[in-house]
Symmetry: C2
Subunit: 345 residues, 2 copies
């Protein structure tokens, strides 16, 4: 029944040849009308436009970028899209891309180097013009054989100062320093720094900032470091452990988002008054922080600036592949609110 079908039921979009036939011109002319590297007479231009409109023609991106040799697509690799910090970055990158006539292809690595490698392979197969990577490891590329055939890439947030790629990240040393100094100025001497993981440079930088602030104030000996783990629960447990020790700290500096949530949970669990009995400085990047009471004194990274600077760095790199490697630091914002206060006595 029904007439013969020349093409499969799905995926039968009109091609440039269909448009050409309908407009009574050659495919080359249609191409010139649509992306216009060369002039086309007004009357043929109009009939092409009409034909394209009538057929609902949409250029086939596969074919086009196969021929042109670039895709105007940037691959974005983040550890976890559910994390508001990363999804915020992605949102900013998307805006940058839209502005520049690019599109982004987002994948997440689960912070797992093997998954990361696989995902990047697939972005390479898709011939992205560049990559923005929040690396799972600081030695990005060491195991996987990158950067053998990698397109231009910029490492963001992590792996600052990498020897083979441009990097853009927050000034994490300053972040650690600012938070600690604030607590010291409030009179605290027993300050515990809670972090998630000591195998990441950006986290160790925060610890370094903490140490520097302690040292400059003659408190080097009072260092107390808690390595919580890569989840809220692990951080909570580690902090609870710390609370059971003979001398309870008067202040906590939670140097990651997970550590911050873990600290809050532990403080609640031990029924410690915040900020009455303990002061807390955290890391935040969520609207929830604004409804939390007491308002959290916290470090916040400049996500938009991070995204903008990494984007422009990547564009520069694409423009001049052999230019000197760059490593950029973005300042952090420290907001003094209510969760840390002057030490009584």
């Amino acid at each position: 029944m029904g007439g013969k079908r020349r093409r499969p039921t799905t995926g039968s979009s009109p091609t440039i040849r269909d448009v050409a036939k309908r407009a009574g011109v050659s495919p080359g002319t249609v191409s010139n009308v649509l992306i216009g590297v060369r002039g086309v007479r007004a009357d043929s231009r109009i009939s092409v436009m009409k034909a394209a409109e009538a057929l609902g023609y949409k250029s086939n991106h596969m074919a086009s970028s196969l021929r042109r040799g670039h895709t105007r697509t940037i691959g974005v690799v983040v550890p976890d899209l559910s994390n508001e910090f990363f999804s915020g970055l992605v949102t900013h990158w998307e805006a940058q891309a839209a502005k520049a006539g690019y599109e982004i292809l987002v994948v997440s690595s689960g912070d797992n180097p093997e998954t990361e490698t696989r995902r990047i392979q697939s972005l390479i197969a898709r011939r992205v013009d560049g990559l923005l990577i929040v690396a799972a490891r600081d030695d990005f590329g060491a195991a996987s054989g990158f950067p053998a055939l990698l397109p231009p890439a910029v490492l963001v947030d992590r792996a600052s100062g990498h020897k083979r790629f441009d990097t853009v990240s927050s000034d994490n040393v300053a972040a650690g320093y600012d938070g600690t100094l604030h607590l010291i100025k409030l009179g605290h001497r027993d300050i515990v720094l809670v972090t998630s993981d000591d195998s990441h440079l950006h986290l160790r930088d925060r610890v370094d900032g903490y140490r520097r602030a302690l040292k400059e104030n003659g408190l080097a000996k009072r260092e107390r470091l808690v390595i919580g783990g890569r989840s809220v629960e692990a951080c909570r447990a580690a902090i609870a452990q710390e609370f059971r020790r003979p001398v309870r700290p008067t202040a906590i500096f939670a140097s990651t988002f997970f550590a911050t949530l873990g600290a809050i949970k532990a403080i609640h669990a031990f029924d410690i008054a915040l900020p009455g009995e303990i002061s807390l400085v955290g890391f935040e990047h969520s609207e929830w922080a604004t409804v939390f009471q007491p308002h959290l004194t916290a470090v916040a990274q400049r996500r938009e600036e991070l995204a903008a600077k990494s984007w422009s760095t990547l564009m520069d790199r694409i423009g001049s592949p052999r230019a000197k490697l760059r490593s950029m630091k973005i300042p952090v914002d420290f907001s003094i609110r209510d969760s840390a206060q002057q030490l009584a006595d």
Copy 2:
């Protein structure tokens, strides 16, 4: 200086022809080794593998899908990637895709129908095999001329029961009903429902659930509805306004995430004890909810199930484009915690 370059500095990946030459076979044979529709003798198979390995050959996805006619890529359209609910959905979809050998291409619409249309056009140009869409409007496609040449698509979370697309969404009527009934059972009679927007069906469904619960308990006349707006701040302001009226409600049911944060802020601002003087039922989808005190009694949508069911619906649709339209509802979870309590007196 330096030898002659045949190809541009960037973008020179080895092709299947390079591999063929190195292995001493034809391109067709290489293709058969790599994706294997036909048998290849062991020795040539091995030499092809070696050559591919040595050259670091990565198949060009553009060329491959141009020829094959499908991309094994699913386009995902969400209103806002920074919103944890949507980024959570995307994360689950990504996992589904990885399992099924697909990849996803994520774009966000900013809840703006024009942007949405543009983004979808570009996904079509990229010839995605299917679309998962959290639509900006319930009448998705009405203005834009879709679904003329749209690939198979499933509408998720919003626009339930759409006449031209499969839909998968939460049972929002039940969500509204459950939360309200809980408050009624706790003795509340003055229950304000706060929502963000009355132009979305999924939000009106929650209101309907609220109304049904009131009606079934003889409280139809006590209905109090506050339309906050599409931001935390707008919701906060609207609720503050409500608090200034002669009879202050004893309970608030915040039927969106923004409304929930707005309600909390307003309650804090008016220094109303929670849950002592007012009970609150919210909508949540963030780890922050677990550190908030009192623990939030709240509705949570089953994101993972939403993602899984919409994925399988899309796969079914791709498999049989002419099958009957489906409209699926996913139950919601209602967690009774501490922010709503028995009405004193």
